[in-house]
Symmetry: C2
Subunit: 249 residues, 2 copies
């Protein structure tokens, strides 16, 4: 049985709490929150005064709140970890046994998460602590990876491209459709297939479209449709970036 406390109950905390409560090998003891949820129950607390000892304390607050938590939370757990993609394990340096449990996924409070599909990136400052962290992670997901703080920063950066920036591309598509009285659903199958394709083909080999074909008449026509407007420059820049890859070959 692994005894766990959570500090924070945002997008990640909510889903971790649910997963731990379902797992018979984990005892979720306490959840620290800034403000008690309504309705609340015995799990929640707003103070560290009666903080129970645990095997692992998991800090899953917003990145910028981690320092404040570090200054308040007692060092009563065998291991203290945070869940942030872009924060070094050294942010927890007041805890002798520290680490990171970073689930690489995009979370929404109102959408269930299938943790068995989520890769967990694990790091501990001391090699001896790794097995415990891995044991906890593997209770909720078969996909665990040892990832150093530097690697994790780079991974978080990749995630900005393949998730946040990708969603912005979807949004631009949505806007163009709306402005032209086209239902957005018409783009859905293309979006799904584009994501599906790269399960079998590396993105470097899956590129299609006017940029990679150096189809200048189509590129010019698109730029004309976009000009003036906020997206012409993005179109231009991404087209050149796709073409730069081809010239490198």
């Amino acid at each position: 049985m692994i005894r766990v406390n959570l500090i924070g109950y945002g997008n990640i905390g909510v889903h971790l709490a649910r997963a731990f409560q379902r797992a018979s090998e984990v005892e979720l003891q306490r959840i620290w929150v800034r403000k008690l949820p309504e309705p609340t129950d015995h799990l929640f607390t707003t103070t560290f005064a009666d903080w129970p000892a645990a095997d692992i304390d998991i800090i899953c607050v917003a990145d910028k709140a981690i320092a404040e938590i570090v200054s308040q939370k007692p060092d009563t757990a065998r291991l203290t970890v945070h869940t942030a993609g872009s924060v070094s394990v050294d942010a927890l340096s007041t805890f002798s046994n520290r680490g990171v449990l970073y689930p690489l996924q995009t979370f929404s409070k109102n959408k269930a998460v299938d943790f068995t599909q989520v890769p967990f990136c694990l790091e501990t400052a001391l090699a001896a602590d790794y097995a415990l962290l891995q044991q906890l992670a593997q209770i909720i997901s078969p996909k665990t990876y040892p990832v150093s703080s530097l690697q994790r920063k780079q991974l978080h950066l990749s995630a900005v491209f393949v998730c946040n920036f990708v969603n912005h591309m979807y949004r631009i598509g949505e806007e163009i459709c709306a402005e032209n009285q086209l239902p957005y659903e018409i783009l859905q199958p293309l979006i799904a297939e584009t994501a599906e394709k790269i399960k079998h083909l590396p993105p470097s080999q899956a590129q299609t479209g006017p940029a990679i074909r150096f189809d200048q008449p189509t590129i010019d026509a698109h730029l004309q449709l976009l000009n003036p407007g906020p997206y012409a420059e993005i179109y231009q820049q991404l087209t050149l970036s796709i073409q730069a890859h081809v010239q490198k070959l």
Copy 2:
């Protein structure tokens, strides 16, 4: 029974041919190709000399080859259409009965296509021809939409954003992983969930990440990781574009 000829046997032609051959309501009569495939069969021809009359001739060659086909193909079909996203129906103006059958999907020759999931954008110069084109399209897909030439151009432009540019984002993620000894598969669940999420939530409401949180320390850290390099400017520009949306609200 709808009699069909194909002109062109590239990514779209191959998949249309397979779908028509499986459909009992369609008779695929002839496929014009520049060079006979090996092994070939009676379906294929490199000449328009003995071109059979048909209900619909479908021109599915590369955009820039359409004009050449138009100058050669006899006007023996009840209706002649092309399949190009960014070419006006007027490119076929030598045919009195003309139209467009644009499947909005990304095709790879070696990957099977489930046409029942592909939206077909339909247009005919004469309203009287629309029913025939819709009848053919609905044999292979339940999703057909009337889309004008101008709308289709805008839709093709959207597709560049949600497919081609999205794939480039995947590629940048792939590169960052490779440079940091991280397996690319680690990004796959995030990519799948990002595409899945917007089936239920409009992209305008699904945005996450440091840009929309105006999390400048993380943005600065990412730019530092990217500098010097080809992607710092893309990161900067997309971040500003995401933030511009927020300020509009």
